[in-house]
């Protein structure tokens, strides 16, 4: 469904990704793992068109999308839950969801489905997003992305800074989406989250693919991951 084929990405003159490849299929949870600065978030931004690739290609359903202007990418049902949530902090919860709904013209049903996954947001629809707790903000960031009815969802460190109960809720939501045949690309630093969810793991270092593992390999020998992450 989503395929990155040997992409190079630079920030100005500094190259960050060197021939990175990965693919995500429907109903699959793929984890992108690497140390800080390895290029994980850069890869996410490149998929969303927020950074231009200098070579290689990004394809969705076999269609090359790397030359698309960034505002067209969400219309392909590629949703983003960015690192640090990046909510529209002065808008209400309902308005944040409305921004997501605008992408595909989704109505109340789509919003209701997103809210069913995070019922706590239902009570806070008129609250300003910036005043929510960290966990609620993460729920809203996820619900906002669900409003575009994603077929591929990119989650960039969704459990960062969350307490365990919130982490569990986000994890359940991810598993629920997997059942709905949504392809998930999960960027994570937390080994426990990767172990619990991953169908496949891409380990990257200095912007390059280092190794790929199956979920079973990682679960059987988590030391592989721990060794590479230097934890």
């Amino acid at each position: 469904m989503l395929r990155l084929d040997r992409i190079d990405v630079s920030y100005g003159r500094v190259q960050v990704l060197f021939g990175l490849s990965l693919n995500v299929s429907a109903g699959e949870i793929v984890c992108l793992v690497g140390r800080n600065g390895a290029g994980k978030s850069t890869a996410i931004k490149a998929i969303m068109g927020l950074l231009q690739i200098s070579s290689g290609s990004i394809e969705m359903d076999g269609e090359r999308i790397s030359h698309y202007p960034p505002h067209r990418i969400p219309g392909l049902q590629i949703g983003l839950v960015p690192q640090g949530r990046r909510l529209f902090s002065e808008l209400t919860v309902a308005e944040n969801l409305e921004i997501g709904l605008m992408v595909r013209g989704g109505g109340r049903n789509v919003r209701q489905r997103a809210l069913e996954m995070f019922p706590r947001l239902q009570e806070r629809l008129d609250q300003i997003a910036g005043t929510l707790s960290g966990g609620e903000q993460q729920m809203l960031a996820t619900a906002r992305a669900l409003c575009i009815e994603p077929r591929v969802l990119l989650l960039d460190e969704p459990t960062e800074g969350l307490q365990p109960s919130m982490t569990a809720q986000i994890r359940n939501a991810v598993l629920q989406l997997k059942k709905q045949e949504v392809g998930i690309l999960l960027v994570e630093q937390r080994v426990d989250a990767v172990l619990a969810l991953a169908d496949r793991v891409y380990l990257i270092e200095n912007g390059r693919n280092l190794r790929d593992y199956s979920g079973r390999e990682i679960n059987d020998t988590p030391e592989l991951l721990i060794k590479h992450l230097g934890i």
């Binding site: 505002h71 969400p74 990046r86």
Partner: protein, 308 residues
């Protein structure tokens, strides 16, 4: 005339200045708030609105009131359209870079000013107001026989000035509702808060920027059309509204629309009152000093929030 009626007259003049200034400055504030572009050509869009209003109202050849009403629609639309073209040809190509767009809009300022001079000449052009009846105002005095109503000589206001104030209030309330309630208003606010996330949620921000730039210029032109029957159209008239708009936007807080409106009322009223009692130059000096104080002691503006 005694102090009381004189002060009320000065306040009415100030309210007129505040109304037009609020429209013009909100245009500048919207452009800066959403696009992060300091539009130095904003005063020229104001001037162009006034000149187009003169041109339309004098060439239509029907009743001056109809010509003026036509100008009220045509001038903001034309100026807005010109601003969109300028956005597409200049600002977009500079990727809306804050520094380079300042230089580009300075260039735009001179282009608009000189083309207007070459096309319409250097003369000040009057526009006939659509209606201009004088209303005498009563004054209440506490005399020996209790409250007495008097009609001081020269104490009055024209219907046109009152209409300008009311019209500006209606437009500003409408704009506020548009930003707060409409879908495009939501898109504008989201783009202002996080440009990158707006893109990641399918908002074509370059199109939003073009419309916002057109809207900002259109508001300046609307302010000019309203004031031109009182002050005349002239190719050099853009300097003062630009200066006052910057003063208002800085005092109100860059990008804050409520702050801009509050500051426009503050500066407009003080400008009117000080101009009537002392001199217009003193009013500008005080406004400029106020900006200096705000920049030193509260750089985010009186109504803006400090950046994290």
């Amino acid at each position: 005339m005694e102090f009381g009626p004189h002060f009320l007259l000065a306040t009415l003049e100030g309210a007129l200045t505040a109304a037009v200034l609020a429209l013009t400055a909100v245009g500048l504030s919207v452009v800066f708030g959403i696009m992060r572009v300091v539009n130095v050509a904003h005063g020229e869009f104001f001037m162009l609105g006034a000149v187009i209003a003169w041109f339309v109202s004098t060439t239509v050849g029907i009743h001056p009131a109809v010509g003026f009403l036509l100008a009220l629609v045509v001038a903001p639309v034309m100026v807005g359209f010109l601003a969109i073209v300028a956005d597409q040809l200049v600002l977009r190509r500079l990727d809306y870079d804050p520094e380079r767009t300042i230089v580009a809009t300075i260039g735009l300022l001179y282009c608009i000013q000189q083309v207007t001079l070459m096309t319409f000449g250097p003369d000040a052009r009057p526009v006939i107001p659509p209606f201009n009846q004088r209303i005498a105002l009563p004054w209440f005095e506490l005399g020996e026989q209790g409250f007495q109503v008097t009609w001081p000589w020269g104490f009055g206001v024209t219907t046109y000035k009152l209409a300008v104030i009311m019209f500006a209030v209606i437009i500003l309330v409408g704009l506020w509702r548009f930003l707060a309630r409409s879908k495009f208003g939501l898109i504008m606010r989201a783009t202002q808060l996080d440009r990158e996330m707006a893109l990641a949620f399918g908002i074509p921000i370059e199109r939003v920027y073009a419309i916002v730039f057109g809207l900002g210029a259109g508001l300046a032109a609307l302010g000019a059309v309203l004031i031109v029957p009182i002050r005349q159209a002239h190719y050099l008239m853009g300097g003062e509204p630009l200066l006052l708009s910057f003063i208002v936007v800085i005092i109100g807080g860059l990008g804050s629309i409520p702050g801009t409106i509050m500051a426009a009322i503050l500066i407009g009223l003080s400008d009117g009152i000080i101009s009537v009692f002392f001199s217009p130059t003193l009013a500008k000096i005080i406004a400029t000093l106020l900006v200096a104080f705000v920049l030193v002691y509260r750089p985010q503006g009186l109504f803006g929030r400090r950046l994290p």
